[in-house]
Each structure stands twice: as structure tokens, then as C-alpha cells.
């Protein structure tokens, strides 16, 4: 059939559905893929086999791994992934935990995306339940999550929002820092607390001002000049419900400056996990080495 440009009265409208339907049916067969469309055995995700995507059997426990595999990866990462993630919120496996737990919401900064122990006050829950103060219910434009999936998220948060349980290989590794809030290199308003998430439960007896230190750069943004100033910490607390999370509270508001968190994995007093394994602070796969994370407060008390 020949198309005629504007002005033709002989165009056949039936050409439209015929042409488009002719190329329909081009979806993949899914052969060799898991429920998230990834090759089986690729690693990381279990592909939703714990419960499949929303609509499958409800997972039995509030494990973060299950949330990642049954909600974030198959549903949320359609948009919230990569450099174009809306509001900078990336929910892919590598980033979701660090971008959710104890991180302020962009739309309602007074609320954390996930407040461990408090599902009702967690913006993530408000968004998927459709009762957030700003914007539409998530997933945007898609069907609401099944109640079983929402319950899974609620349960995980109520249990303290622990990170995914380490796999066997991870369990054999020495403890390391998974994420910090503020993150390495981040520029942020004055944080009231600093949060560090470890791969293993931390020995609370070793969590103190001896193993966790905070320094200001002395105004030059560098920590090699010898003019750094130690910032006293009011408290160093290991979460009771989730001992992989440590919260540091500075004594007083942090001024606009560059700061460095130091966690001791060497020297006379080194941080260790509950099994006595010393922190792998320099992330070289072996115990030992100090951990450093630098961030800059852009709006602080002068």
C-alpha cells in the first residue's frame, strides 16, 4: 500500500492497526533468564526466586535481599537506576541500601527515606502506600505494589532495616564498611548524625571515640597539612536492633567545612566484628588498615 501525504482523501485508516499489529509480538521468550530478565547464574540477584515479582508468593521474612529481588530490581529500577534515576535515587542492587537507610527524602527533607524501626515515618513506605505529602504513588504509572510486598518492606524497616545478609563468601571475609551517610565526597547540609553501615555486626565494646574519629580539615579541604582539628563526638552508638549500623553524633552542629571520618582498623585499638575479626579498613580483602570517608558541609553554622 502506498502512503499519501497530507491532503490525500484515499488514505486507508485500517492500515494503521495493520501496520502496528504486524510488528507486535516481539517480546522476548525469557529463555535462560530469571524473573528480572537477567541471565540465570549471573550472580547477585536470585532473580526473584524467593517470591517472584510482585504477585508471586509473598516472601516469608523481611530480608533486604528479598525486597531487592522482588520489588526494587523488577519494578523500581525501570526508572530508578543509572545516571538518570529520578531525584538521584538509585534502587539497583549496588546502591539501594545506601540511598535509602537514614537518608533524607528530596521531596520531604524532614523525613528519611527509611527510618530504621519506624515504617510509618519512612518516606519509602509513604510513597508505595500512596500517602506521601508530595507527588504520586509509586510505582509511577504502574499498578500499586501488592499488599504482601508493602508488608515485606514494613517488616524489614520495623526490624531495623538491616542490610542484606552476607553470603557465605562474604561471611568469610573480614568486616568492611558498606556505606556512609554522608557518602564519600558528598556535599551536604549540616548533618545531625553520621551513619556507617558495616558488612558484619560490630563489636559494641570496641565502638568508641578511640576507634571512630571525626576531623575538620582546618579550612583548606586537605588532611595532609597537619592543621586538622578533631571534632569531639557526643556519642558512638551501635544499633541494638541492627549491629551493622553505627551512628556518630558530633558534639554541636558541624560548621561549613570539609570533614573526614576515620575508623581504626590498625594500631593499638582497632574495630572488630562480633567474631573478633579486625576491620578491613583499606578494603584490600585482609584485616587491618584504617577507613576514611570525606564529606563537605555546605550549609553549617559559621
Amino acid at each position: 500500500m502506498r502512503l499519501r501525504l497530507a491532503g490525500s482523501k484515499r488514505i486507508q485508516p485500517m492500515l494503521v492497526p495493520a501496520a502496528l499489529l504486524a510488528i507486535a509480538g516481539c517480546a522476548g521468550s525469557g529463555e535462560g533468564l530469571d524473573a528480572n530478565g537477567r541471565p540465570i547464574g549471573e550472580g547477585g540477584s536470585d532473580g526473584g526466586s524467593n517470591g517472584g515479582p510482585p504477585g508471586g508468593p509473598p516472601p516469608a521474612t523481611g530480608e533486604f535481599r528479598q525486597i531487592q529481588d522482588t520489588i526494587f530490581t523488577p519494578v523500581c529500577t525501570n526508572c530508578h537506576a543509572g545516571a538518570a534515576a529520578p531525584l538521584g535515587l538509585r534502587l539497583d542492587e549496588a546502591n539501594s541500601y545506601a540511598m535509602l537507610v537514614n537518608v533524607p527524602s528530596v521531596q520531604v527533607p524532614a523525613l528519611q527515606r527509611v527510618t530504621p524501626g519506624d515504617p510509618d515515618a519512612s518516606y519509602l513506605v509513604q510513597k508505595i502506600e500512596g500517602r506521601a505529602a508530595v507527588g504520586a504513588r509509586m510505582p509511577l504509572g504502574g499498578p500499586p505494589l501488592p499488599q504482601s510486598s508493602i508488608d515485606l518492606v514494613r517488616q524489614w524497616i520495623a526490624q531495623g532495616a538491616p542490610p542484606a545478609t552476607a553470603g557465605l563468601a562474604e561471611q568469610l571475609q573480614p568486616p568492611r564498611v558498606v556505606s556512609t551517610v554522608p557518602a564519600e565526597g558528598e556535599e551536604c547540609p549540616t548533618p545531625s548524625t553520621l551513619t556507617i553501615v558495616f558488612s558484619h555486626p560490630v563489636d559494641a565494646a570496641l565502638a568508641s571515640a578511640d576507634t571512630f574519629q571525626l576531623h575538620a580539615s582546618g579550612g583548606d579541604g586537605s588532611f595532609a597539612e597537619g592543621n586538622e582539628i578533631q571534632v569531639p563526638l557526643a556519642s558512638v552508638e551501635v544499633s541494638l536492633v541492627n549491629p551493622t549500623v553505627v551512628t556518630l553524633t558530633p558534639r554541636g552542629a558541624l560548621a561549613a567545612e570539609t570533614y573526614r571520618i576515620t575508623i581504626s582498623g590498625s594500631g593499638a585499638v582497632a574495630l572488630a566484628d562480633v567474631d573478633g575479626r579486625v576491620l578491613d579498613g583499606d578494603d584490600d580483602g585482609t584485616p587491618g588498615g584504617d577507613f576514611h570517608a570525606t564529606f563537605t558541609v555546605t550549609e553549617g553554622t559559621p
Binding site: 488514505i11 535462560g32 524473573a35 526473584g48 529520578p86 538521584g88 521531596q107 557518602a183
Partner: protein, 360 residues
């Protein structure tokens, strides 16, 4: 504005339903987006011409034929517009209970103050529903040469591909550049003869806080003829999470009563997965106008979420009937069928909707 005008405005806001951009209007009329929208790349506030078209060219019949038509202008300097979209959705996901719900999908209001008419304007696009107010766009635009060159700064939708009404279309979702991801940016634009081009530099955070020094560069250029148009878009986003490249070709053509739209997007994102992924999304759309006030929209979309993985492709087919019975009011009835890998129920859902859309 007197009380009657205020009431009329409030009524329009209440009963209206989403006036997003609909690029098939541009293809059908052969006009540039800027002819009908204050935003050069389409969407949002209508110009007086756009409002006149909405009253004379769109509806099956006019209710107000003897009065002065609504132009959106409140005096010489300030223009106002808005839309509200009220939906009834029914979703059928395999192996789940079917769901249906009423909801206000969107209510937005647009205000533009042309403090120096034709040269300098301040524009705000605010979402009023659902939930509390949420700013979508807020920018100032200066035409360096009236109608030809402009520079715009503030929060804005980035120029990329077709600015479709449906933000969930694969090409809108996969590109990550849509009306939910306005960014803080500076944009330079050119409107010259049949050419329309924009270059924007933005934070590249899709509306989120800037956490690194990397920026996003977005370019869109289109050649617009009375019966066809074609354009190229490119975007590069430099972030700590990984670089992202996006390329899009879009085109439209009018054949008799049918306005055709097409777009193909290619995205290479280092931040997806452990080693990065390449994604491809495509859209083909036909808009058939059997007679004035009626439009039948058939859309086929295709999405490959990872070019290196076979048999993971998804499709989305939509059939939507749009009736504009009178000016400023549209009824949309549609069905969307998703088709994807069988082991993912969401990729195989069906959605049916009725939408009342009012705008001004």
C-alpha cells in the same frame, strides 16, 4: 479578575484533566511546538494561539461561540493555564487480584509573567495534585533576539525526543528525560525558519541534589516542515555513578487524516549493572482523526533492557480513543497491553483506563 472569572478558573481547574504535550497536534497542524506553548519544546502553558486552537480546532462543537474566547492572558503581562487529569484505572496482572481505582493523576497550574513582552519572561509550572504542591518548572527566559535566540535558566524539562503526554512510554521512561525529571539547568535555544534547536547544561540529577561536579549536556535539533519533521537528540551525563550517553531519532509525518510519530532511543549507561548496559527503546504511533473532536491513537512500543542479553525484550501496545466534545475538555478511554518475559508478571499486565482531562 472578577469573581465570575475566578469561579470559572476554579471550575476549570477542578474539572480539567492533564494537558500534557501532545506532539501529534504539532505533526497534524505542521506547526512548531512554540506556536501553541510558552515552552519552546512543548507542554505546559498554552499561548493565546494555542488556546484559540483548543477552542476552535480541537472540539467537536463549541459551547461558547458568541463570547470572547479564553486566551489565558490576565492583562497584558501575565498568562495562566492549568490542567487536571482524573482517572479510573483497571489493572490486570497475571496471578494477582485485579485492581481498579479512581485517582487524580495530576493537577498542574502554569503562570508566566512576560515582564518585557516578547523578550523576558518568568515561568512557573507547579503540580498541585496529587499531594502537596511540587514545583516542576521555574525558570526565567530571555529572548536575545525576539523569536530567534533565547537563553533560559532555572528548573526545566530537558529537551529530548518527543515530549509525549505519556511519561510511562518506554522512550520517556528509558531515556530518563520526561516531565517527572525536570532538572536545574541553563538552556540556549534557536528558532530559525524550519529549524528548532536547544542545548541545555544541567546538574544531571533528574531533580535530585547535586552530589558531584559532573554535569549533563543535552541537545535536541529538529527540522519542521508542514507535513513532516525529523529530529536528533543527544545527551551525555557525567556522574560519579557512571557516565550515561543517550541518542534519539524522532520523526513525524502527516498522511491524510493520520499523524504518525516515531522515535528510537539508544542509551549506554555505565551505572547500570556491574559493567554498564546498553538499552534500546522504540515507539511508533498513529493518530487517526476521523472527524473533528475525535482521535484514535494506536501506539506500539518496544524495549530492549540490555542489548547484550537475548530474549528479554518487552512491548507495550496501546489503543486510546480521545473525544474532545467541547472546548477545554477531553475524555480518553484506552487499553494498554504489556508483553514481556513470561516469568515476570508485571511485564505481562493489561491496563484499561478512562480519563477526564480538562485544561485551559
Amino acid at each position: 479578575m472578577n469573581v465570575r472569572s475566578c469561579l470559572a478558573l476554579a471550575a476549570l481547574l477542578f474539572f480539567a484533566a492533564g494537558a500534557h504535550a501532545e506532539p501529534y497536534f504539532a505533526v497534524r497542524t505542521g506547526l512548531k511546538c512554540v506556536q501553541c506553548h510558552a515552552n519552546v519544546t512543548g507542554g505546559g502553558l498554552r499561548t493565546p494561539f494555542g488556546n484559540a486552537y483548543a477552542q476552535t480546532g480541537l472540539p467537536a462543537r463549541r459551547l461558547r461561540v458568541e463570547e470572547e474566547p479564553w486566551s489565558g492572558m490576565l492583562g497584558r503581562y501575565v498568562a495562566i493555564g492549568g490542567n487536571l487529569r482524573a482517572n479510573f484505572d483497571h489493572v490486570d496482572v497475571p496471578d494477582q487480584d485485579e485492581r481498579s481505582a479512581f485517582d487524580v493523576a495530576e493537577g498542574r497550574i502554569f503562570v508566566e509573567a512576560s515582564v518585557i513582552p516578547g523578550r523576558l519572561s518568568v515561568y512557573v509550572d507547579e503540580q498541585l495534585a496529587p499531594g502537596d504542591a511540587d514545583n516542576r518548572e521555574a525558570n526565567v527566559r530571555l529572548w536575545l533576539r525576539e523569536g530567534t535566540w533565547y537563553v533560559k535558566a532555572g528548573k526545566m524539562y530537558l529537551p529530548f525526543g518527543w515530549r509525549l503526554e505519556d511519561d510511562n512510554a518506554f522512550v520517556r521512561q528509558v531515556s530518563g528525560i520526561n516531565m517527572t525529571t525536570a532538572d536545574d539547568a541553563v538552556e540556549v535555544g534557536l528558532e530559525y525558519g524550519a529549524w528548532s534547536a536547544q542545548l541545555a547544561v544541567s546538574n544531571g540529577t533528574a531533580g535530585g541534589p547535586e552530589l558531584d561536579n559532573g554535569k549533563q549536556l543535552t541537545l535536541r535539533a529538529a527540522h519542521v516542515r508542514p507535513t513532516w519533521r525529523a529530529g536528533l537528540s543527544a545527551s551525555f551525563n557525567d556522574t560519579d555513578a557512571g557516565d550515561r550517553y543517550a541518542l534519539a531519532l524522532h520523526a513525524g509525518i502527516r498522511t491524510g487524516p493520520i499523524a504518525w510519530l516515531g522515535e528510537v532511543d539508544y542509551i549506554d549507561d555505565d551505572g547500570l549493572g556491574p559493567t554498564g548496559r546498553q538499552l534500546i527503546a522504540a515507539l511508533g504511533e498513529a493518530n487517526w482523526m476521523p472527524r473533528r473532536g475525535h482521535n484514535v491513537k494506536l501506539t506500539f512500543e518496544w524495549f530492549d533492557p540490555d542489548d547484550d542479553v537475548d530474549e528479554d525484550e518487552q512491548t507495550r501496545t496501546s489503543l486510546v480513543y480521545e473525544l474532545t466534545p467541547v472546548e477545554f475538555l477531553q475524555l480518553r478511554v484506552g487499553a494498554r497491553v504489556y508483553d514481556g518475559i513470561p516469568q515476570n508478571a508485571l511485564q505481562n499486565r493489561e491496563q484499561y483506563f478512562i480519563e477526564l482531562h480538562g485544561f485551559f
